[in-house]
């Protein structure tokens, strides 16, 4: 018998010992970051960067496969007891010796996770991790001339690149409301002083929002440069239009942080994605009834919110709890009770 087969047998035996739990349920008590565990990380430090941004130093579990500069990682953080998942760009270089990585988080107004990480997260806290991902990365062959176009926290993936890979000719245009809002400002200016970077700061409080047409004046050779742009949708839309207009769109790489924000309303189109049905729903009829009327096979139970026999994944959109009026937005892993939830705008129910 091969050693792999032996090991799998031994594991099966261990499962018999721990049933109905799994051996990992016990191992997690002592070694949550071990090889083979669900991927987690431990927050080791939180360093303030600006008034509303901080860098979080994370020691990942043994299963961490490492990242490429420019990628992001999804993390699951418990905020007020509720696990919420968000994606953040990695800001540490790939060759960090101590095995830790960093993300840099800007607190956005009403952002549950970002405010928690910037202002309340404590060293020692365990968080959930996914493997890093994303194709906002430098090409294999180093480009001769590079342009980084960023705004706000859009600087974070680019900082990961700057720290990771030294390039010969780099120009950066970065937009932030005021000088003190520029994340990594000292480090950027050090790079400038060392002649490794040409930096143009646009302070939108005084200069106004960057007019993309000004690029000709700020970076005259922008069209020849391989460009990585990251920031709010407005900036990226303008950039894509501009690059397309000049026929050089293939040189532009963009990264969009926040997908469309859900606006909770009253009723909407409900898609039952497994059965492939879409029907209109009002804001007062339980989704269970909507589904059943549309002929979708819906699990059900007490039909009054107490038995949890109807819980179903909410893939997209938002629903309203008919008892409390509370809104639940779709996030990975979010399940809703269809018997007491109504559509609060278009939504996708996995049935």
């Amino acid at each position: 018998m091969t050693s792999a087969a032996l090991r799998s047998r031994a594991w099966k035996l261990l499962e018999m010992v721990t049933t109905p739990l799994l051996p990992s349920d016990y191992l997690d008590l002592v070694s949550p970051l071990r090889e083979g565990a669900d991927l987690r990380g431990r927050i080791e430090a939180v360093h303030p960067e600006t008034g509303d941004a901080a860098t979080v130093v994370i020691r990942p579990g043994r299963g961490w496969r490492g990242h490429t500069a420019g990628q992001y990682v999804r993390i699951g953080v418990d905020v007020d007891g509720v696990r919420l998942w968000r994606a953040y760009s990695l800001t540490s270089p790939t060759h960090r010796r101590d095995g830790r990585f960093t993300i840099t988080v800007k607190a956005i107004p009403d952002g549950k996770v970002s405010n928690h990480l910037v202002r309340r997260a404590k060293p020692g806290t365990l968080i959930q991790l996914d493997q890093p991902t994303g194709d906002f990365v430098l090409s294999q062959a180093k480009p001769a001339k590079v342009f980084y176009l960023t705004a706000g926290s859009g600087i974070t993936p680019v900082m990961g690149m700057l720290r990771d890979t030294e390039l010969d000719d780099v120009v950066m245009v970065h937009c932030a409301p005021r000088p003190q809002d520029v994340i990594f400002r000292d480090e950027l200016h050090d790079l400038v002083a060392d002649g490794k970077l040409r930096l143009i700061e646009v302070h939108t409080d005084t200069d106004g929002v960057l007019d993309i047409a000004r690029l000709d004046e700020l970076v005259p050779d922008w069209a020849e440069r391989e460009t990585w742009a990251c920031g709010p949708a407005g900036l990226l839309d303008a950039a894509e239009e501009h690059w397309t207009g000049h026929g050089v769109l293939e040189r532009l790489h963009t990264e969009r942080f926040r997908p469309g924000i859900v606006v909770a309303g009253d009723g909407g189109e409900v898609t039952f994605s497994v059965s492939g049905k879409t029907v209109a729903a009002d804001g007062a009829t339980p989704l269970l009834d909507i589904g059943e009327e549309a002929g979708v096979l819906m699990p059900s139970g007490c039909r009054m919110g107490i038995c949890f026999g109807c819980v179903t994944p909410l893939k997209a959109g938002a629903v309203r709890d008919l008892r409390t009026g509370g809104i639940t937005e779709a996030e990975p892993g979010v399940l809703i009770q269809t018997c007491v939830s109504a559509a609060a705008g278009p939504c996708d129910i996995e049935r």
Partner: protein
């Protein structure tokens, strides 16, 4: 059963107002759920796992009587924690709001021979929706006992003190059979129903795993302590079964708890539903440790009003609920464990015999007022 409807003095407006006041209590807890509650359940789960691990470790040396005693006691408590404060409450969805897939009603499996999925259906759905409705809520005597005068007497009931005792000893198996609706499904035709066969198979699988673990693997691991370990696990299961059975009997069987007729719940309003839960459940009074070991089912009334609120909140909710009972002049059935257990057993014995002829019976018209 009382001859007089204890809710007859309430107008339907009052009942709806009562419902709104209970909704307000619920909303307040939901709005206040947070980090402290999440830390609580995580701490309890970790403590249970450590206790089970240590107890099973000690039992490896159960050839020595002190180790046997210590290990058996620890394992009994661990199994009770698993079933009561942890399993029962997680399977109610009380902790689903944390969005932790490991502590979730859809993924949790417990140290019990009835698979979670089946238990959730018979308990969460049937029992909690149709609480104490004769013919709808099988928890009323689990289909083997008569626990209310309104249930029809049959000579079979003469043996019910014995059935109840056996059910207490092997409670988890009783529950598994109950979740399968075994009595109803054993008829020749129903036995072949593929849906029933699949469920029976799942129970068989679960029993095999549980028995293998408790009565084969762990004793084998104990080597020379094989037999003492086997006896220890058997004892721990027995202790857990008798304890959970006692606690659960106290929830709906003591004197003073009302039952309802099938037709009384037709068109039931939210207020009426709440009122039925209030009148159909009974509490156990006692210390914090007592409440913990019952999985807070000592706050059965509060649990039945709000089955999905986190169990650690029932104690604070109970104060407000009890005030509402007083305000609406309703009887809050509660008492210390021995008194409630005695009351429930007394009923089991009393109703083993047919009703006394002389008893004054409430006319049906009045009974309907319960949910009118």
């Amino acid at each position: 059963m009382t001859a007089i409807d204890p809710t007859a003095h309430l107008t339907s407006e009052q009942i709806e107002e009562l419902g709104r006041e209970l909704d307000a209590i619920r909303d307040e807890v939901i709005a206040g759920r947070g980090e402290r509650d999440a830390a609580y359940i995580r701490k309890v789960i970790a403590a249970q796992r450590k206790l089970e691990l240590v107890s099973r470790g000690v039992l490896l040396f159960s050839l020595f009587p002190p180790a046997w005693l210590l290990g058996t006691a620890g394992l009994s408590v661990a199994k009770i924690m698993d079933n009561m404060e942890i399993g029962h409450n997680i399977l109610h969805g009380q902790w689903d709001w944390m969005r932790d897939p490991k502590i979730h009603s859809t993924t949790w499996e417990w140290d019990h021979v009835s698979p979670s999925e089946q238990w959730k259906h018979s308990h969460n759905e049937l029992h909690h929706t149709y609480t104490n409705v004769i013919g709808k809520d099988n928890d009323l005597g689990y289909g083997i006992m008569r626990v209310d005068e309104d249930q029809k007497w049959h000579p079979f009931h003469l043996g019910q003190p014995l059935w109840n005792f056996l059910n207490a000893c092997f409670f988890e198996y009783g529950i598994a059979a109950y979740d399968l609706e075994l009595g109803k499904n054993l008829s020749k035709r129903r036995r072949k129903n593929p849906e029933f066969r699949a469920r029976a198979k799942a129970v068989g699988r679960k029993i095999r795993k549980q028995v293998l673990k408790d009565y084969v693997i762990h004793p084998l691991l104990s080597g020379p302590s094989f037999l003492p370990t086997l006896a220890a696990t058997f004892t721990a299961n027995l202790v857990r079964n008798v304890w959970t059975h006692s606690v659960i009997m106290c929830g709906h069987f003591p004197e003073g708890v009302q039952v309802f007729e099938r037709r009384s719940i037709v068109g039931e309003t939210r207020g009426q539903w709440y009122l039925r839960q209030m009148m159909g459940s009974a509490n156990i009074s006692g210390s914090k440790a007592m409440h913990f070991m019952t999985g807070n089912l000592s706050h059965q009334i509060e649990h039945h009003l709000f089955p999905d609120l986190p169990s650690n909140r029932y104690a604070e909710v109970a104060v407000k609920v009890r005030a509402l009972f007083a305000k609406y002049e309703l009887e809050y059935v509660t008492g210390p464990l021995p008194k409630q257990v005695f009351s429930a057993w007394h009923k089991v014995f009393r109703l083993a015999l047919p009703n006394k002829e002389t008893e004054v019976r409430a006319p049906d018209r009045e009974r309907e007022l319960v949910a009118a």
